[in-house]
């Protein structure tokens, strides 16, 4: 009897954990492939809110729709056409979802819909936008960004001041001005501008972010951008078949202070690869371009989580394309 209860216990553990893993992989797939356009209980986005969709639609239809929407659109499936019309002619793309994955997804959506329903019984918290405080304007500015803004304000103020003085001067008009002294002034102005221009050039040109071949990085991370996510690997990924063969790293962890080389490319359109520090400020960026590999070298100054955002417009869910790296 003891063995029997052990068996039951194992069964229980198995079902729970199996369920958890199923849900987990469903969640992963959802985040990777669906979340760009859909929410569960968060309202319609580019595509419909999927809350309760498993009850609304026939399960067979739903899994077919998830697996090959393109085919169903071509066949002019009535529900598919209706959805296409409702969602501004943005078609649901074929995301290469397998049958097993579709099952996980449907389970995940069903489970989420249930939990959301329970949550919504409790009055939803009002998400009111805080009134903007002064912090929104200048709070947290630092580094190059702060310098750029200060330089811009100072120079612009000078320009505004000069134009204002000139405008005011027309109150006491004179028929002609002494052009000789004007030209003399222009000469000085020219020299002043030239010194400023060349001085800044000499000071800033050596500070480019391009990799130099005399310095060797400590770590190498391959990055493949794809609508609408990033994959990391220890090997170059340049095509969908590479992505199948190489080991994709789901949670990227990197050492603090080490020189990291990101080799960034794209599998479809142009993307951006920008690293944001914990203060939500860009520390470095490069572009991800199909057919090319950009090498971005970075030292992470502090431990913590750095967000990665796509900074080159790449399609309808561009603003949802992101990843994170943990620095220890």
């Amino acid at each position: 009897m003891k063995k029997f209860s052990a068996m039951i216990a194992t069964l229980f553990v198995l079902i729970m954990s199996g369920g958890a893993i199923g849900a987990n992989s469903g969640e992963n797939s959802f985040q990777l492939k669906c979340a760009a356009c859909h929410s569960i209980g968060g309202g319609d986005q580019i595509g419909p809110d999927l809350m309760g969709v498993t009850k609304r639609r026939d399960p067979n239809w739903l899994s077919q729709w998830i697996i090959h929407p393109d085919k169903m659109l071509n066949e002019k499936d009535p529900i598919a056409m209706e959805l296409l019309k409702k969602y501004n002619q943005v078609p649901m793309p074929n995301l290469g979802v397998t049958e097993a994955e579709a099952r996980d997804l449907i389970d995940y959506i069903a489970a989420q819909s249930e939990t959301q329903k329970k949550d919504s019984a409790v009055p939803a918290q009002q998400t009111t936008q805080e009134p903007p405080s002064a912090g929104v304007f200048f709070g947290g500015l630092k580094g190059v960004q702060l310098t750029a803004l200060v330089v811009f304000f100072v120079l612009s103020t000078i320009v505004v001041f000069v134009f204002w003085q000139i405008a005011k001067s027309t109150r006491q008009p004179v028929p002609t001005i002494d052009m000789k002294s004007a030209y003399k002034l222009r000469k000085w102005f020219f020299f002043g501008t030239a010194v400023l221009v060349f001085g800044t050039l000499i000071a800033t040109l050596p500070k480019t972010p391009y990799p130099d071949d005399f310095q060797t990085p400590d770590r190498l991370v391959y990055v493949a951008a794809k609508q609408f996510g990033f994959s990391f690997s220890s090997e170059p990924i340049t095509s969908a078949s590479d992505a199948g063969q190489s080991t994709i790293i789901n949670s990227l962890e990197l050492p603090q202070g080490a020189l990291i080389e990101f080799r960034v490319t794209s599998l479809d359109v142009n993307h951006g690869f920008a690293l944001y520090d914990a203060d939500h400020s860009i520390i470095a960026q490069t572009q991800a371009m199909p057919g090319y590999t950009n090498r971005l070298r970075v030292r992470f100054p502090k431990p913590g989580t750095y967000q990665i955002l796509c900074l080159e417009y790449c399609g309808l869910a561009h603003h949802l394309m992101h990843a994170a790296v943990t620095v220890r």
């Binding site: 002619q89 903007p132 929104v136 304007f137 750029a148 027309t170 001005i177 102005f189 090319y292």
Partner: protein, 472 residues
């Protein structure tokens, strides 16, 4: 009514209508970014595309229209071609509207390869968009070639580009407007040709399936886009050069310095576009250096020669601050301020932190909305006022200018602050970490409303003169 006058009035009307429509599209973008109308979120990127292509194209044609009117004082551009350009532009805009509103085409105004093929919108929408750009490009190419022809009819290439001034001669007199227009139009041919090459590559891929090199397409696209926007500005500056003396009562002639500076602009403007590709690390590094050096250099002819010249012209001059002159004067100021923002961003080390943040729209909106737009609007008012000589209420006109300046610069300030806060450009919705972007868009909306009020009053003031000048 003669054809030249009729053409100009038509261009003015088209500009007013499209400006209001496209401005509302831009305002819509800021509304979405402020999280105020989330049910229309999926329209953000199509509207962004419309706003971008529309505004870039609109101010390009508007400034060619100004330059063509100015040029007709010295040469004889064909009015039939100008009319053809109007029809071509309207046709192109119709294709654009179809692709955006019916097909939800949303590849952005520079339709960066290969996004038009991989965006999820129907193929016909992509085709309609490409056809729209083709029609516009071909029409404009004919138009600017005709303007160049009209210059060539009167001047040799050396005279038109002021080479005799550089060699130390003082005659024959070539008005600066002709010199600047000649420089801009020659670069304009390069601009439209690079557009043609990009389009040919797109069509070739559509027909044969042979892919294109993404880096090559990006270079060509930015050569096209960068030149289009910069040359629009220079053409408007040509109009300002031509009109200013009539307000200040002082001549603004061509001379050696003016000739040298605008000839160098011709070279610089073709090289500065490299600054759009700083973050493409595979681009040869010396192109990047050339990009920064050329971008920095472009500030010298602009600031030292043109802005300084304008200032010297206005200083203690007996100016009547009518709406036309006020807008053009402050248009030069906006050009200068936008230029500062641009030069800061064209520093490679800074660009690494500001590239594709809202700093980019910040600086180009400055020299567009508070530079180019003011110069063109000022010129349009000047034109209608010259024709009708209506009584001017300077107090009312000052209020209009003040609304446009306060609204415009308030709106721009939010962009600059967002850029310094690393808020990305072209995001329909900001992530929770960057929610300050949404708050700043909300504030920007207040300023846009002020600008819009000023614009409506301006259109009322100029529109009255426009209606009256129909009978001239």
């Amino acid at each position: 009514m003669n054809l030249a006058h009729k053409n100009t009035l038509n261009w003015i009307m088209v500009t007013f209508v499209l400006f209001i429509v496209l401005l509302l599209a831009g305002m819509f973008m800021r509304i979405i970014q402020a999280n105020m109308f989330s049910s229309a979120q999926s329209w953000f990127y199509p509207m962004m595309t419309l706003h971008g292509v529309g505004m870039a194209g609109l101010w390009w044609v508007a400034s060619i229209a100004c330059a063509s009117r100015v040029l007709s004082r010295y040469t004889a551009p064909s009015e039939c071609v100008s009319r053809f350009a109007l029809y071509g532009t309207v046709l192109g805009v119709l294709f654009l509207l179809a692709s955006v509103f019916l097909g939800q085409f949303a590849a952005g105004w520079y339709f960066l390869y290969p996004l038009p093929f991989k965006g999820g919108w129907p193929t016909w929408a992509t085709l309609s968009f490409l056809l729209s750009i083709t029609i516009l490009g071909a029409t404009w190419l004919v138009w600017i070639l005709d303007l160049l022809r009209s210059i060539a009819k009167k001047y040799t290439i050396g005279q038109a580009l002021g080479w005799h001034y550089i060699l130390g001669k003082t005659g024959p007199d070539v008005p600066p407007a002709v010199l600047i227009t000649a420089v801009s139009l020659i670069a304009g041919v390069a601009c439209l040709l690079s557009g043609v090459v990009v389009l040919l590559f797109f069509y070739y891929e559509m027909l044969t399936g042979v892919a294109n090199d993404a880096l090559l397409m990006k270079n060509l696209t930015f050569l096209f886009g960068h030149l289009l926007v910069n040359l629009s500005l220079y053409l408007a500056v040509a109009a300002v050069y031509d009109v200013f003396p009539s307000y200040t009562g002082r001549p603004w002639p061509s001379n050696k310095i003016v000739a040298i500076s605008w000839n160098s602009v011709l070279v610089i403007v073709l090289l500065a576009y490299f600054h759009h590709l700083y973050m493409d690390f595979v681009q040869p590094t010396y192109f990047q250096y050339v990009g920064q050096i050329a971008s920095y250099m472009s500030s010298i002819p602009a600031a030292v020669v043109t802005v300084f010249g304008a200032i010297a012209l206005v200083y203690r001059a007996p100016v009547r601050w009518s709406l036309g002159f006020t807008l053009m004067f402050f248009g030069l100021m906006g050009w200068g301020i936008g230029g500062i923002g641009a030069v800061i961003d064209s520093t490679i080390a800074v660009n690494s932190k500001l590239h594709n943040t809202l700093w980019v729209p910040a600086h180009f909106h400055t020299y567009m909305i508070e530079g180019l737009v003011l110069m063109v609007l000022g010129y349009f008012y000047h034109y209608c006022q010259e024709k009708t000589k209506l009584q001017e209420n300077l107090y009312f006109q000052k209020i209009i200018a003040a609304l446009i300046l306060v609204g415009g610069y308030g709106f721009l300030l939010m962009f600059y602050l967002s850029g310094a806060h690393s808020i990305p450009r072209r995001f329909a919705v900001y992530p929770a970490d960057l929610s300050s972007g949404a708050q700043l868009s909300g504030i920007a909306l207040i300023f846009i409303s002020i600008f819009l009020l000023g614009l409506v009053l301006y259109i009322y003031e100029t529109g009255r003169r426009w209606v009256k000048s129909l009978d001239v």
